[in-house]
């Protein structure tokens, strides 16, 4: 594996960091990596080519920003362009002036139309609308039935005059549903149609007929975020066939990078309106172009992280910490201070999610329990100041008191003390310029490899990358933004208590 885009870009620009101005060669080197990243994210080749050309033109013509290094300049342009395509015409669902608003769903088989119909209905209902679901998929076995169950679950009426499974005329059902909705005063009609292939002319004609019969305010093209290169062909077929007004991206809770979003948005020029991201009927939200751009590039939300890190990680505090370490006076109090420092940067989970490469560890992130930190804090706060400064004096009776005071068990207290000792040892090693072994943190299986696997040995010495991802990002940020970090000192000040290990 080649690592994620940001890793590769750092590699590409290792020798160019000091340069302020972009040469065409720099740009091309960066764009090669970007092209690859986009293709690996399943962005369609033609879209990638057009995109890369546009970025290149802009990068060559752009003013040179002093604040950023060449890689960052290009990445920033890429990011802006991506967001522009994904959300250039970001808009909300449009409602009819005179109810009912009619929404037609169309897409390939298995893209998630029926489930989405339910989610959309619930979302609309929660906003005070009175939606009606229409079962116009009379093709797939029991699609009608499925919609009825979905409707039941979200408490929305379903118009299903035909049993389906090949029986009934979907055009007639759709047409009748509008009359029904008007009579019964439903404010929104959501028409669930059968899945169809772009190349199936007969079925595409049926979709066109349905559209003509109901004159929808929105024709939403539903597409699975795991779709590969074919997304362009499919999107084009639906755009040219039935004609679409917006896009819904489904199954975003998977780990696909979702390049299809970019393909569809650029080919059709239609906005992505919603993102569907889970099994529950609530797992549905408006589409955020910036998040999607980061996801496609697998860059993490680097820019945000840089800002937050700079704001919150107090440099003088870090220096004081480093001194302490060097003198071997790192105590549980410092341990807690560090934790709070990190806390200031926001929820750890969201911090970690912003990290480049987090794509690979989303699963672990989901399992990480933020409350673990609360528990650790509770234990430390149940200690006397003397105990915090000198953990050595913690005997059995003190430990049992602390356990009671913090509502934890003695085992928890023991494991914290052990972790602290390991951390202290490790930080001492770092302060002396060595490479630490990272202690594991409970509840975070597999994270050890994240911290320790990457670039450990080769970064030994002056560039010492912290094993802690949050800390490493802080360093990275400092380095990227051109700050001079003093040797290993701020490094050593990094949190070593194992969060993220």
């Amino acid at each position: 594996m080649f690592g994620n885009l940001s890793d590769r870009l750092v590699e590409t620009f290792k020798n160019l960091r000091s340069k302020g101005k972009l040469s065409p060669a720099d740009i091309d080197a960066t764009l090669r990596e970007i092209r690859r990243a986009l293709l690996e994210a399943d962005v369609a080749l033609d879209v990638v080519k057009a995109f890369v050309t546009a970025v290149r033109d802009r990068a060559l013509g752009d003013e040179v920003s002093k604040a950023l290094n060449p890689a960052q300049q290009v990445v920033q342009i890429v990011n802006e362009e991506l967001v522009a395509i994904l959300g250039g015409e970001q808009r909300k669902l449009s409602f009819a002036k005179k109810p009912p608003t009619v929404i037609m769903l169309a897409g390939l088989q298995g893209s998630g139309k029926t489930t989405l119909a339910g989610k959309l209905a619930k979302w609309l209902k929660d906003q005070g609308q009175t939606p009606l679901l229409v079962a116009a998929d009379l093709q797939r076995p029991n699609a009608v039935n499925q919609l009825q169950v979905v409707g039941d679950r979200v408490g929305v009426s379903v118009f299903a005059p035909e049993p389906g499974n090949g029986v009934g005329n979907p055009v007639k059902v759709s047409k009748d549903s509008i009359k029904h909705a008007t009579q019964k005063m439903f404010s929104v009609v959501i028409v669930d149609t059968a899945g169809r292939l772009g190349v199936d002319e007969e079925m595409m004609q049926q979709a066109i007929d349905i559209r003509k019969a109901i004159d929808p305010d929105e024709v939403l093209f539903v597409i699975d975020s795991m779709v590969g290169q074919d997304a362009v062909n499919v999107a084009k077929a639906f755009e040219d066939g039935v004609g679409i007004t917006g896009v819904v991206l489904t199954k975003l809770d998977g780990d696909a990078r979702g390049g299809a979003a970019l393909s569809v948005a650029s080919v059709t020029g239609k906005p992505i309106i919603f993102a569907s991201n889970g099994e529950g009927m609530d797992a549905f939200e408006p589409f955020y172009p910036d998040r999607m751009a980061s996801r496609i590039l697998d860059m993490g939300d680097v820019l945000t992280l840089i800002e937050q890190t700079q704001k919150n990680f107090d440099e003088s505090e870090a220096r004081a910490m480093a001194e302490k370490l060097a003198k071997d006076t790192f105590t549980l109090e410092d341990f807690m201070d560090q934790m709070q420092q990190l806390r200031k940067m926001g929820s750890l989970k969201s911090m970690l999610a912003m990290m480049p490469g987090a794509g690979q560890m989303r699963a672990q992130l989901d399992q990480f329990d933020e409350r673990e930190i609360d528990r650790t804090e509770a234990i430390i706060r149940s200690m006397t100041p003397a105990e915090r400064r000198q953990p050595k004096i913690l005997n059995g009776s003190r430990r049992s008191r602390i356990a009671k005071g913090s509502g934890m068990t003695v085992t928890d207290v023991n494991s914290l003390v052990n972790r602290f000792e390991q951390a202290a040892k490790m930080m001492k090693t770092v302060a002396k310029g060595g490479v630490p072994q990272l202690p594991g943190m409970p509840n975070m299986p597999g994270m050890g490899s994240f911290g320790s696997g990457k670039g450990k040995a080769k970064d030994k010495g002056k560039k010492s990358k912290s094993g802690n991802p949050a800390k490493r990002a802080a360093e990275e940020a400092a380095r990227l933004s051109g700050q001079k970090t003093g040797d290993a000192a701020p490094d050593a000040g990094g949190s070593a208590f194992g969060i993220g290990n």
Partner: protein, 342 residues
């Protein structure tokens, strides 16, 4: 070529006679290979007959790589782009082109026809596998098929087609509706079971543990003396840890009663590079033995199966080419490759 031979239980005109039949039976009209005659010590082992099942072709489902971009024998680098557009992936496409170039150089091939033949050969060789046939021949009845995959790839439809194909060959088929999660999934598979003439074992209560449905399905198949039980599972994204654990449980619970003959991963041909991640995760948890590539009747080429085969060694066994009950076929690497380059 005639149909493909598989082994199933012999069913006599007298319906209940099956279990009583003595192990070494007279050879019926159909050819029985000698090594598959049951060993004498297994007294209750039923008699097996070789059955011919219709061979189906996916030819009509495979679209040429060169339907939109013409093949240019002068510019083999362009081939890389064409392969990328068929979801072969960046690295794989490059390595295929390198291989084609190397072979072309060696053999002095330069015409369109020659180069296409080399390309087809490279693709076919990489996809060809000795174990691509469905495991329906070891005689350990009932065969158990577990069908897995992410949401919306066509698991249920595949099961319907497979069941129908088997019942047409006079097999007795049980379908286990272990997708107890998605709304009306049980009804959907029930409709297919009815069309195919298979017995359905579904949950007794709503939201019943899928593993218990799977268990009961196998139990019923054994009790009814069926030839095969095909178990449908809920679609699950491979990064959902809890759902993958559930799948692992389903597999373990089935194995309490019978060995699993096939774990089929259903993969939508439109799937991009995430297909590899899917295959990895399902192979890990469910011990996938074969891939079913569905929806090949669309414009997608399903190039990701190439990487799946190469990196994980999982053969493609079946392809789906439409919504009709007969719209599927056994995967044939040569047919697939020649369809792609045609």
């Amino acid at each position: 070529m005639a149909g493909i031979l598989f082994w199933k239980k012999k069913r006599d005109a007298e319906p209940e006679a099956v279990l009583e039949v003595e192990p070494v039976a007279p050879v019926p009209e159909l050819v029985v290979e000698p090594e598959l005659v049951i060993e004498p010590e297994l007294v209750v082992e039923p008699e097996l007959v070789a059955v011919e099942l219709p061979k189906r072709s996916a030819r009509k489902g495979i679209r040429s790589l060169f339907s939109r971009i013409k093949f240019d024998p002068q510019n083999l680098d362009e081939l890389e782009d064409i392969l990328i557009q068929a979801d072969f992936g960046v690295d794989t496409s490059l390595s295929i082109v390198d291989e084609v170039k190397a072979r072309a150089k060696q053999s002095g091939a330069e015409t369109e026809g020659e180069l296409k033949a080399i390309l087809a050969a490279v693709i076919a060789e990489n996809l060809e596998r000795a174990d691509k046939a469905l495991n329906l021949s070891d005689g350990k009845l009932p065969y158990v098929f577990l069908v897995v995959g992410v949401n919306g790839v066509g698991k249920t439809t595949t099961i319907g087609k497979l069941a129908n194909w088997l019942t047409e060959g006079d097999w007795s088929v049980v379908i286990g509706a272990a997708d107890t999660f998605r709304a009306a999934a049980v009804d959907q598979v029930a409709t297919w079971a009815q069309r195919a003439g298979a017995t359905l074992v579904g949950p007794k209560t709503e939201g019943q543990d899928p593993a218990s449905v799977a268990f009961e399905s196998v139990e019923a198949a054994i009790k009814q003396d069926s030839d095969i039980v095909i178990i449908d599972t809920a679609g699950r994204l491979q990064n959902k840890t809890d759902l993958m654990i559930e799948l692992d449980k389903i597999r373990r619970v089935i194995e309490k009663q019978a060995a699993i003959s096939e774990v089929l991963l259903v993969l939508d041909a439109t799937t991009g590079q995430n297909g590899l991640a899917q295959a990895k995760a399902f192979a890990d948890v469910a011990k996938v033995t074969g891939v079913v590539l569905t929806k090949l009747d669309g414009t997608a080429k399903g190039g990701i199966v190439f990487s799946i085969q190469r990196e994980l060694g999982i053969p493609v066994k079946l392809v789906g080419v439409g919504e009709g009950i007969n719209d599927f076929a056994f995967f044939d690497a040569k047919e697939f490759a020649s369809g792609l380059v045609s």
